[in-house]
């Protein structure tokens, strides 16, 4: 398409102005990496990288090991992904394959509203509704029946990895559902009709035609959900208990990278602040890595990251 004619000076000026805007975006990205690195440099110098990868975080004693935060982020995100994936895929199947058109539209709208609720409101709801419920019914029940597993043992506080994972799961359901929905829509109708014509039930059709041809798309949806979970801050900071520990138990309070930054930066200074800069840089690198994985998955499908 040759819409690439520049007839006069106005065109040149206009294009250059837009290039300046693009330049601002490039500077922003470079700046974010540079300034986070700059912020974390004093801590890396003073504490040293090897002890920064330690298991203890104790600012008053100037011990800054960020491993508990990395553990908290990974554990809560994986827990969220485990809970959210089956629900989201079911929701997407319901939308695309089962529901009547009008019900499907309403259902899709409600799921989108789930994404519109601000993080801090989820945190508030988690703090006063979900946590009492976990503390009084769910967690005691799990401990009584599955207490022999390390995941369901230990003291019950309510604020816990489990609470964070649960809230995160709710928050990433709309993301995974939206992408899975698009993926399922892109399965050719002729394929579905072909399978049905061979005498399959609805379940077999969905299993053979829809799910198996959407594997990479579902993976992409999960990675996008993971990306959202990794960086999610407020809701997690309010329900996870803010304790930098590494424990297998889902009942124990933890801390994630994002929630550590959120709860400590305003009062931090000196090396402590710089160490939080390291946490931020780490979070940036991890989310950048997940982003590139996502691009890789989506470009191999021939689609575009969304």
């Amino acid at each position: 398409m040759s819409f690439d004619v520049e007839k006069n000076r106005g065109d040149v000026i206009f294009r250059r102005t837009l290039y300046v805007f693009a330049g601002i975006a490039f500077l922003l990205i470079l700046g974010i990496f540079f300034f986070l690195f700059d912020l974390s440099l004093p801590a890396i110098k003073e504490v040293g990288l090897s002890s920064m990868l330690g298991r203890e975080w104790n600012p008053p004693l100037k011990i800054f090991g960020i491993l508990p935060f990395i553990y908290g982020t990974c554990a809560s995100s994986i827990l969220a992904l485990t809970l959210a994936t089956p629900i989201s895929i079911a929701a997407a199947l319901f939308l695309t394959e089962l529901a009547h058109k009008k019900i499907g539209a309403l259902f899709g709208f409600l799921v989108e509203m789930l994404a519109a609720i601000p993080s801090v409101v989820y945190g508030l709801w988690g703090l006063f509704v979900v946590i009492p419920w976990l503390r009084e019914s769910v967690q005691p029940w799990l401990r009584n029946h599955f207490g022999f597993l390390p995941f369901f043992s230990g003291p019950i506080y309510g604020v816990s990895l489990m609470a964070a994972g649960l809230i995160l799961a709710i928050m990433i359901v709309p993301t995974i559902t939206a992408i899975s929905k698009e993926v399922f829509y892109s399965v050719p109708t002729s394929l579905k009709e072909g399978v049905l014509a061979l005498g399959s039930t609805r379940f077999e059709m969905i299993w053979i035609a829809v799910i198996s041809s959407s594997r990479s798309g579902i993976l992409g949806a999960m990675v996008l959900g993971l990306a959202r979970a990794l960086g999610e801050t407020m809701a997690v900071a309010m329900v996870i208990g803010n304790a930098p520990e590494i424990s297998l138990s889902l009942f124990s309070p933890e801390q994630t990278m994002a929630s550590a930054i959120a709860s400590e930066v305003a009062e931090a200074s000196g090396v402590h602040l710089s160490a939080l800069g390291v946490v931020g840089l780490m979070l940036l690198l991890i989310s950048g890595f997940v982003f590139f994985m996502l691009r890789l998955i989506l470009t191999s499908r021939g689609g575009r990251a969304h």
């Binding site: 819409f3 690439d4 007839k7 006069n8 106005g10 206009f14 102005t17 837009l18 290039y19 805007f21 693009a22 975006a25 490039f26 922003l28 990205i29 974010i32 700059d38 629900i87 079911a90 929701a91 319901f94 089962l98 409600l110 989108e112 509203m113 789930l114 519109a116 601000p118 993080s119 801090v120 409101v121 989820y122 945190g123 508030l124 709801w125 006063f128 509704v129 709710i170 559902t177 039930t201 609805r202 379940f203 077999e204 960086g231 801050t233 309010m238 994002a258 930054i261 959120a262 930066v265 305003a266 800069g277 931020g280 979070l283 940036l284 989310s287 950048g288 982003f291 691009r295 990251a305």
Partner: protein, 279 residues
């Protein structure tokens, strides 16, 4: 029924059940926010400053005003930048700069907002030695820019090529075709994108925590800390006072009404537009 049909029925029931579970949190959140929140709402809640701990009454008027100021400032920064980037992405897509910008915008939108807060802290709060409304607005605008750039790109791509060609054939220079025909013709859909972005950042808390910080006073100038609804909700929620908890629910109700209201508005607007387009 043979075993295949049983399996089929079980599967369908399971899918519908799980899909229903996905919606439970929405109903629960809305129920509790309305149930606890409406008790906190009264005239004072919108117009007064917080009362001292232990005293009844007071409101979060300062936070509502603060949120409005922050959102307006962030919009002023991010709307021109986002629109410009979106135009470049859609109208110059064969240029290498545009492809690079596309990847940059996506990367930017994938950065956790708390990291953007930390970045803003490093470039604004630290050098100027203090939390400020400026810093909060800058942090919010960095979150907002990629959203606006992407929706602008998508909306402009919907304009058919023939429209651009017609403009060029009339002898208009390219920049006039872009601004006067392509952009002006999509103004209402661009507005939808901007409103969606506003609805998203209205609830953003993480980038404000240590940029705009918090305040218990009315607006005191752009270089002073400023209160906002989401940060106020957070502060109240994690406090040990029942009265403050109630205020947090009230704030949440205000925020939800705002965010869902904007979303519903857009939905009806789009529906109306589709109908008009069809007839």
């Amino acid at each position: 029924m043979n075993s295949r049909e049983v399996k089929n029925k079980l599967f369908l029931v399971a899918v519908c059940g799980l899909a229903f579970i996905a919606l439970l949190p929405l109903f629960s959140v809305l129920f509790y926010v309305v149930e606890h929140g409406y008790r906190a709402l009264n005239w004072d809640f919108f117009t007064k400053l917080p009362a001292p701990v232990g005293e009844a009454g007071g409101g979060i008027g300062h936070a509502i005003l603060g949120s409005i100021i922050l959102i307006v400032m962030a919009s002023l920064i991010s709307i021109p930048l986002g629109l410009g980037m979106g135009i470049l992405l859609s109208e110059y897509k064969q240029k290498r700069v545009a492809r690079l910008l596309g990847a940059t915008v996506e990367l930017l939108s994938s950065i956790p907002s708390i990291v953007i807060g930390l970045f803003t802290y490093a470039i604004v709060v630290k050098p100027f030695k203090g939390f400020s409304a400026h810093a909060g607005a800058i942090a919010l605008s960095i979150v907002m820019i990629p959203m606006i750039a992407r929706t602008t790109e998508e909306m402009l791509k919907l304009v058919p090529h023939t429209v651009r060609e017609a403009g060029l054939a009339l002898g208009l220079p390219k920049w006039k075709v872009i601004l006067r025909i392509v952009v002006q013709g999509s103004l209402s859909s661009l507005l939808v994108g901007i409103i969606l972005a506003v609805a998203r950042i209205a609830g953003e808390t993480a980038p404000l925590l240590f940029t705009a910080f918090a305040s218990s006073q009315w607006f005191q100038g752009l270089s002073r800390p400023i209160a906002s609804i989401p940060v106020q909700i957070y502060t109240y929620a994690v406090s040990p006072y029942d009265d403050w908890h109630e205020k947090a629910w009230g704030g949440a109700l205000v925020l939800i009404l705002m965010v869902l209201g904007l979303n519903l508005m857009i939905r009806f607007f789009l529906m109306g537009k589709r109908k008009r387009g069809a007839s």
